[in-house]
Subunit: 160 residues, 3 copies
Amino acid sequence: MTEEKKSFNIICFSGDFDKVLAAFVLGTGASAFDYEVNMFFTFWGLNVLKKRPGRRANGKEALEKMFNVMMGGRDKLPMSKFNFAGIGPVLMKGMMKKKNIKNVEALLKDAIEAGVNLYACDMAMKVMGIPRSDLIDELKDVVGVGSFIAMADGGQVLFI
Amino acid sequence: MTEEKKSFNIICFSGDFDKVLAAFVLGTGASAFDYEVNMFFTFWGLNVLKKRPGRRANGKEALEKMFNVMMGGRDKLPMSKFNFAGIGPVLMKGMMKKKNIKNVEALLKDAIEAGVNLYACDMAMKVMGIPRSDLIDELKDVVGVGSFIAMADGGQVLFI
Amino acid sequence: MTEEKKSFNIICFSGDFDKVLAAFVLGTGASAFDYEVNMFFTFWGLNVLKKRPGRRANGKEALEKMFNVMMGGRDKLPMSKFNFAGIGPVLMKGMMKKKNIKNVEALLKDAIEAGVNLYACDMAMKVMGIPRSDLIDELKDVVGVGSFIAMADGGQVLFI
């Protein structure tokens, strides 16, 4: 299959600001390098794909609602280190802005424009009570882990 | 070597409940997709393989004993986020149970039945003072990092 | 290209003591297995490459200085779990020393001697205000994510 693009597949498990940033920089970078890029968002990573970037009580049950409010959306992602009740990301965003480095919202937009395929994990959506309608329209599909493994076959796979 | 299976190799470094879950879902999923799956447990990941799923003072020295008690076993894995002194995993397990999603114990059993090869890292066992006899019998082998790298050659490798 | 070495590429994003240890053990192990090994240090991982292994206020601006002092250098890396204000790594180092397992400083030296290529991420250096002159001389190069992706093409890639 010489005409087929090589694939670069990122499992975006983390919902940490710094790791999500790294995932998008890698994904968009691999896309520029002519890879077919698939980003598969699961667990905390689902926060990146929520339609409303802020906090919202997704889910029907009390537990789900609590979880989703606590997790927030992509404009409130915590940092994996030095979070300090949300101060860390604010400082880091300030440092990034001064140096013209893009934020998560802009990186998500870039990835979509670069043709990166965004997928959401069906199992994680089920556990956390997040319906498809609460995720962004630009999502390519909701898939299971089996579909992701098939997609990634013969390509690069990263777990972030 | 056309008759050889492709390999899917997971370094299970983390002992976090949510990440271990992801590792098993990926491992068992890749096995169903006809990969030869090797899961290599190291550092915190060793907690998953302890024979007694609860806390136990493995090791001979005081320091080792303390470490092993603190780390616990696979029925007491902490979460990477929202652990809240152990409440996080309890809530998450509740959410999973309601949706018929399996726990670590069941996922470990599934992986073994699916023929996933489980390996323990010799160096990490040495550092933490965990003898082979404290790990589950289903372990395929105790190996060093060199053996793992050889095993993974030409296949997929994930670090979780 | 049969004469070309396969590559083993590690994105060292984490600056956690235990994860950095794992990264070096894998990198040096892959090098012994005759892989061309590229370790690409970004974000917290940059702490490993700082010339002065202790804390230092890198950067020109107050925010950068604060970040760099907080992050420390490779002899003060925190642990991903059980850090307890720095006690965790001290205990672990004690356990490792007793069993003749090398520390980060020695592992870095081994990697360099084994011919592992060390790269620093230009974007992360920019965000954190770390100039090239504050990183060790043994660094092969400062590169962007695009160069890393090109380097890793056809090889193994791990995100740690």
